[in-house]
């Protein structure tokens, strides 16, 4: 194991731009927020800036959306057609990508920061109504946000003539009820309209043009908006230099799996490497039991997997994209040498099969079939031709099985189920073959599905 980062201070760190209040016991309250510099940016913007100036700062910050796609927020705002009203800001707080665990903390521990970001963004795009859609399973976040919105209204940080300015904004807090796909922006809009959360096809339904109620709509991720107070306070330029030129600002990563200290870290974007995250004492402090990384997921389970040869790659969007995967939602999952790759692959595919909305054929039928085939292999009923079958079914969902994925589907959920299969089968073909031949995993890996050795087919 590389021990280069065993001494504190050897890895790049930066300011805690958006997680600074996580350690302050009352940071989630209005008083705690204001005491620690909260709502300064909003007062500044509403008293001395035009919407265009706010927009310009966000453009200058070059902040990439933190939801998964990584699209430049300032550019996205610019897609709104001029003079079409009403227009809406929809805040995507439906964090559900496995491995991802950051928006929940931002909502639970610093709800006012998010609200301040929402008001700033709405001011910049001239929206009079914002919707904050929180994941249904996050009861504490809902409570904290409800309290915070009530307080924000009470202190004139939301509602009519905010801070005495001409700008008014209503914020409607609402939450989902258990559906991963609603994290997709058009599905979220459907859900917000009281419908089944099934994605719309883009084109023609680009939210910026035809979004909520077919009106122009900006959908932004929680973490993206949480950065706005800092960007307005310190300026887009100051934000930009915190990260790499191609991935600006600080960014939250949640590192889970086989590391000694899993955690959520705010790190300088584009500078830190995966190895640093896994090994440095500031971060995860090494692979568990002194082991090695067999594979890791760099950006949520929709991403293609990385392996030891990728460890020294910086967490930089263009670099990771070019290497054939993505940083996505900032969810990094480390798997050590004891990992049963067939079981891991199956577990992720099962997720997509369970969460497919059912709207389009390839995803609905394809992900389910993939899961059934993998389950059969795990149960000792695999056939040699199943490996080809897995690829053929994958091909019907994502032609070429390439990255970035092509898709026969409406949204990227279907192709996401192909990533673990393409990653695991290509790299660990021997483990699949072994299952098919012997009905059990290769020696030396943990049979997590059958911890007591209760395997039926041996």
């Amino acid at each position: 194991m590389n021990t280069e980062y065993s001494t504190p201070g050897q890895v790049p760190t930066g300011p805690r731009l958006i997680t600074g209040r996580f350690d302050i016991s009352d940071g989630y309250t209005y008083d705690g927020y204001v005491r620690t510099g909260g709502y300064v940016a909003l007062r500044k913007a509403l008293s001395s800036m035009t919407p265009k100036q706010v927009h310009d700062e966000v453009r200058a910050a070059e902040i990439q959306g933190r939801g998964g796609a990584g699209f430049m927020a300032g550019t996205k705002w610019g897609f709104l057609p001029a003079d079409v009203h009403p227009r809406y800001l929809v805040v995507n707080g439906d964090e559900s990508e496995p491995g991802t665990y950051k928006d929940r903390l931002l909502m639970e521990l610093d709800p006012h920061q998010l609200i301040e970001g929402i008001v700033l963004a709405s001011f910049a795009v001239n929206a009079a109504h914002a919707f904050l859609y929180v994941r249904g399973e996050m009861a504490l976040a809902q409570e904290r946000l409800a309290e915070a919105i009530n307080d924000a209204y009470a202190h004139n940080m939301a509602g009519r003539n905010i801070c005495g300015s001409q700008f008014s904004l209503d914020i409607t807090l609402t939450w989902g009820a258990g559906a991963y796909i609603v994290g997709e922006e058009t599905a979220l809009i459907e859900s917000l309209e009281g419908e089944r959360g099934m994605p719309r096809l883009k084109p023609p339904y680009f939210p910026a043009v035809k979004g909520l109620y077919m009106q122009p709509t900006i959908v932004n991720n929680v973490e993206t908006l949480a950065n706005l107070p800092a960007i307005i306070n310190d300026g887009g330029g100051a934000f930009k230099i915190l990260g790499a030129p191609t991935s600006t600002g600080m960014r939250m990563f949640s590192v889970s799996g086989h590391v000694n200290r899993p955690g959520v870290f705010e790190v300088p974007n584009g500078v830190t490497t995966f190895r640093m995250l896994f090994e440095a004492p500031e971060y995860c402090g090494g692979v568990r039991n002194g082991g090695t990384v067999k594979a890791f997921i760099p950006g949520g389970v929709s991403a293609m997997w990385f392996f030891d040869e990728h460890l020294d790659m910086a967490l930089d969007k263009p670099t990771v994209d070019k290497a054939g995967s993505m940083l996505g939602s900032g969810a990094i999952v480390a798997m050590d040498q004891t990992t049963d790759m067939v079981a891991a692959c199956w577990r992720i595919v099962r997720f997509f099969a369970r969460e497919s909305c059912g709207k389009c054929t390839p995803c609905r039928e394809g992900t389910t079939w993939l899961e059934q085939v993998l389950r059969r292999i795990l149960d000792g009923q695999g056939r040699p031709q199943d490996i080809d079958l897995l690829f053929e079914i994958s091909e019907s969902i994502s032609p070429g099985i390439a990255w970035p994925p092509l898709q026969t589907t409406i949204c990227p959920l279907g192709p996401s189920a192909v990533s673990p299969i393409a990653s695991a089968v290509r790299r660990f073909r021997n483990e699949f073959d072994h299952y098919i031949a012997h009905g059990r995993p290769i020696d030396g890996v943990d049979d997590v599905l059958h911890p007591e050795g209760s395997r039926v087919h041996v």
Binding site: E137, A139, A158, W175, E193, P262, C357, V448
Partner: protein, 195 residues
């Protein structure tokens, strides 16, 4: 097994008023019904349809898309054990099997005394605290078989009542419609929606 009661009708109307179109209040109202009855009853769906001006089939279609809505009574405590990748890697299956043994039900089942429903769920966004579980959507981190047993004892004895309300209640804080609610967005949409 009922329609929304008077207090909840008042709340429902406040919720509806915070959206430009009534149907947007669908999911919040379904949660309200589930909070009232512990599940979403057919009568509640009919009532929600009336409040939103849509058919019961429309309500049912939306409601059944979302996993959190239960159409039959379930346990007072819904225990969701995450088995997705981060938890899968560090023992969630072991925990699930333990929970099944301890409660005497398989995942998806409800104990005979109506206290517990056990579910094998997808990621609950506590990946760095794996294996993680939720009880009525309140978290428990790094759960071992031993502290799972402790949790069950606490729930049975009522020691966790303050923190964990019965199934159906999510946020115990509601957004209030403030006096400074501007309504500008809703009015603008109403103009667009006028036939």
């Amino acid at each position: 097994m009922s329609r929304l009661n008077d207090a909840n009708i008042t709340i429902a109307k406040e919720i509806i008023a915070r959206f430009p179109r009534p149907k947007s209040a669908m999911i919040p109202l379904l949660h309200l019904a589930q909070e009232q009855d512990g599940h979403v009853s057919n009568k509640a769906m009919v009532h929600i349809g009336e409040l939103l001006g849509v058919t019961p089939a429309d309500v049912y279609g939306t409601a059944s898309f979302y996993e959190m809505f239960k159409f039959e009574p379930i346990g007072k405590y819904c225990i969701n054990i995450c088995t997705n990748i981060s938890c899968h890697l560090v023992g969630s299956w072991n925990l699930l099997h333990h929970a099944e043994d301890r409660l005497g039900v398989k995942a998806g089942g409800t104990t005979a005394d109506g206290m517990f429903t056990l579910e094998d769920v997808e990621c609950i966004a506590a990946c760095t605290e794996a294996p993680a579980i939720q009880v009525n959507y309140r978290y428990r981190y790094q759960v071992t078989p031993a502290n799972f047993d402790q949790l069950i004892d606490d729930l049975r004895s009522g020691r966790a009542d303050e923190e964990i309300p019965p199934f159906g209640t999510l946020s115990r804080v509601r957004q209030r419609t403030s006096e400074s609610w501007s309504n500008y967005g809703i009015e603008a949409q109403a103009i667009v929606d006028e036939r």
